[in-house]
């Protein structure tokens, strides 16, 4: 053999392998989609939850908190905050009672001045997220 291996073969494996595994990825994505209705708590989605997600995004909550473990690691996990706090009222009370100038020397959550409707919506959104089947994650209630 003149050469142990050739560039042409390396190229073929690159193209073939990429297409192969991308198609496999699409097949698994398809499986995922068919499994989601039983897991993602979509029946709980309504206009309030949709507004809640908008409030969540418009205030960049993910910039400090994690949601199902994704986000920033500066403040507590909120995917299970509904379970940790026990009610939507407790969530609303916590958010609306943040002091405007923070707590001296400590990490503080800003006062976002949310309307009552927005407060309800964000709490309902977090309640909806807590209903997602996250394969028993997080390991402890503390997030």
């Amino acid at each position: 053999m003149a050469q142990a291996f050739t560039k042409a073969m390396a190229r073929n494996i690159f193209y073939g392998g990429t297409v192969f595994f991308f198609l496999l990825f699409l097949a698994l994505t398809f499986q995922t989609h068919s499994a989601l209705p039983d897991r993602d708590n979509r029946q709980a989605i309504n206009d309030t939850v949709a507004l809640g997600k908008k409030v969540w995004e418009d205030n960049d909550c993910i910039g400090c908190h994690t949601l199902l473990g994704e986000g920033a690691y500066f403040a507590p996990e909120l995917g299970n905050v509904y379970k940790r706090f026990g009610s939507t009222d407790a969530i609303k009370a916590f958010i609306s009672s943040r002091p405007k100038d923070g707590i001296p020397g400590r990490r503080s959550m800003p006062q976002f001045n949310l309307s009552d409707e927005e407060l309800t919506a964000i709490a309902e959104f977090l309640k909806y997220v807590s209903g997602i089947n996250s394969a028993n994650w997080p390991p402890s209630n503390q997030g």
């Binding site: 291996f5 050739t6 560039k7 390396a10 190229r11 494996i13 690159f14 392998g17 990429t18 595994f21 991308f22 990825f25 698994l28 499986q31 995922t32 499994a35 989601l36 897991r39 993602d40 979509r42 989605i45 997600k53 969540w56 995004e57 418009d58 205030n59 960049d60 909550c61 993910i62 910039g63 400090c64 994690t66 199902l68 473990g69 994704e70 986000g71 920033a72 690691y73 500066f74 403040a75 507590p76 996990e77 405007k100 923070g102 707590i103 020397g105 400590r106 990490r107 800003p110 006062q111 909806y128 997220v129 997602i132 996250s134 394969a135 994650w137 997080p138 390991p139 402890s140 503390q142």
Partner: protein, 464 residues
């Protein structure tokens, strides 16, 4: 440098370094906020500083990639850039859009920014790393299209090398997968599922093609090893990258509501993701050992070898540490992830851009092949300062993460998040101090552009 139009890269690289400085300054602010909770509160809350930190990183790396492409593609294609004016125009548009976006983050509350940029028409904001206003995202698409057109036309009219083709594929993939940032359903699981098609398929997919091709270019230029050999290995490495990395996306689908078969598929394939990085390390060192000539730009070779090692450590080893589902169950969303993120981004992408700058900048600034020995020596000092700093930052964050996992999740009486944060504050202090050493390295790096300007170029003998 063979073609006049390659010089457009200088603009891009200059902007990249400038934004890099901004990124590090905001990183220091974030690090300070970790230990002095009310630092700059409420003027710059943590989430705003973090957006600036991460977005600047992404934008300056994109500037770096574009600059690298504008330098490398004409040289490989052996022809002038298709439209240098377009490259310059897009530079200013991108820079203006980036600056306006960062100023928007800093000057008005995020909710106001969302409102004035009419986020409600097509809500895409408020998701990690994709915080940019929708209009900025559209701007990125336009810039990317113009860039791809320019690069594509250059390749089309010139010599088609493997390095160019792989780079073009990587950049096209970057643009294509970015489109998923416009998909944002209310359903949180679907939102997260496709969010990873941007984030994971970028950094553990198509970006590695870009990384591979830039590294191959530098190796061809600095070692004089036969192009055929380097290109062959490039193909094998990127083949392994995508074979493992595409299904490897599954390691993000363990706990976000997606079905549990992902725990197996994700674990098995992502556990192999270090293989291409390991191959890249072996290959870079092999090529340098087999070099046919000693390139006088010692600093560039150091950066290139550093990339290969640090990418393997940061992306490969630190990724593997927490990629298996049973481990990730405890480490998901802790400082372990942050540790991995810092070393992987620095090792793979920051270093490859700095390698390219190190290789090409002297020539664009009128040198024959490299900077003076003094400038190179200073640059290499900055290499070691920044690299060792990032290693220690990673180690401190890993320490913080292990303790956090234990106290908050593993022990019999899990403690609340904020209590744990105070218990691990020592690690955050050490990280912040190391951050200043990193800044010092960055200052030296910039200074290296200004020292020894009037001294002669380093020669091979001197560089030995």
């Amino acid at each position: 440098m063979k073609y006049e139009s390659q010089k457009v890269a200088k603009l891009y690289f200059t902007a990249a370094i400038g934004l890099f400085v901004g990124q590090i300054l905001f990183g220091l602010i974030l690090g300070a906020q970790y230990v002095i909770g009310d630092f700059l509160f409420p003027e710059i809350p943590f989430n705003v500083a973090r957006m600036v930190h991460t977005n600047l990183l992404i934008v300056w790396l994109l500037f770096g990639f574009m600059g690298a492409a504008y330098y490398l593609v004409p040289e490989e294609a052996e022809t002038e850039l298709f439209a240098p004016w377009l490259a310059k125009l897009m530079f200013w548009i991108f820079l203006a859009a980036g600056a306006a976006t960062v100023l928007g983050y800093l000057l008005v509350p995020y909710a106001t920014l969302a409102e004035v940029t009419m986020n409600d028409l097509l809500p895409t904001m408020g998701r990690e790393f994709l915080e940019q206003p929708t209009i900025t995202k559209l701007g990125i698409v336009v810039v990317a299209l113009a860039f791809l057109f320019n690069i594509g036309m250059t390749i089309l009219k010139g010599r088609k090398t493997v390095v160019n083709l792989v780079l073009l594929m990587g950049l096209t993939g970057l643009a294509v997968f970015f489109l998923f940032s416009f998909y944002n359903p209310v359903n949180v699981v679907m939102d997260k599922y496709y969010w990873w098609w941007v984030v994971h398929l970028w950094v553990e997919g198509v970006w590695e093609l870009i990384l591979g091709s830039i590294l191959a270019f530098i190796l061809i230029k600095t070692t004089g090893v036969d192009r055929e050999v380097i290109e062959k290995w490039l193909y094998i490495i990127i083949a392994m990258t995508l074979i493992t990395g595409i299904i490897g996306t599954g390691h993000h689908y363990y706990w976000i509501g997606t079905p549990e078969f992902w725990q197996w598929w994700g674990s098995i394939f992502s556990a192999m993701e270090p293989i291409p990085f390991f191959m890249m390390t072996v290959y870079a060192f092999n090529m340098v050992n087999k070099r046919r000539r000693n390139h006088p730009n010692k600093a560039a070779v150091l950066w290139a070898l550093g990339t290969a090692v640090m990418a393997f450590l940061g992306a490969g080893v630190w990724g593997f540490l927490h990629t298996l589902a049973p481990v990730n169950y405890y480490t998901h969303g802790t400082q372990i992830t942050a540790a991995h993120g810092h070393m992987a981004f620095y090792g793979a992408y920051v270093m490859i851009v700095l390698s390219m700058i190190s290789y090409s900048m002297p020539m664009m600034r009128g040198r024959e092949a490299c900077n003076s020995a003094r400038a190179q020596s200073m640059e290499m000092w900055s290499f070691w300062l920044m690299t060792i700093s990032i290693i220690f930052i990673t180690l401190f964050l890993t320490g913080a993460g292990i303790l956090q996992v234990y106290l908050q999740r593993f022990s019999d009486n899990p403690m609340p998040f904020m209590v744990v944060q105070e218990k691990i504050a020592l690690f955050y202090w050490l990280r912040e101090i190391t951050g200043f050493v990193f800044l010092l390295g960055l200052v030296l790096y910039i200074a290296s552009f200004f020292v020894g300007k009037n001294e002669p170029e380093a020669t091979v003998e001197l560089a030995k």
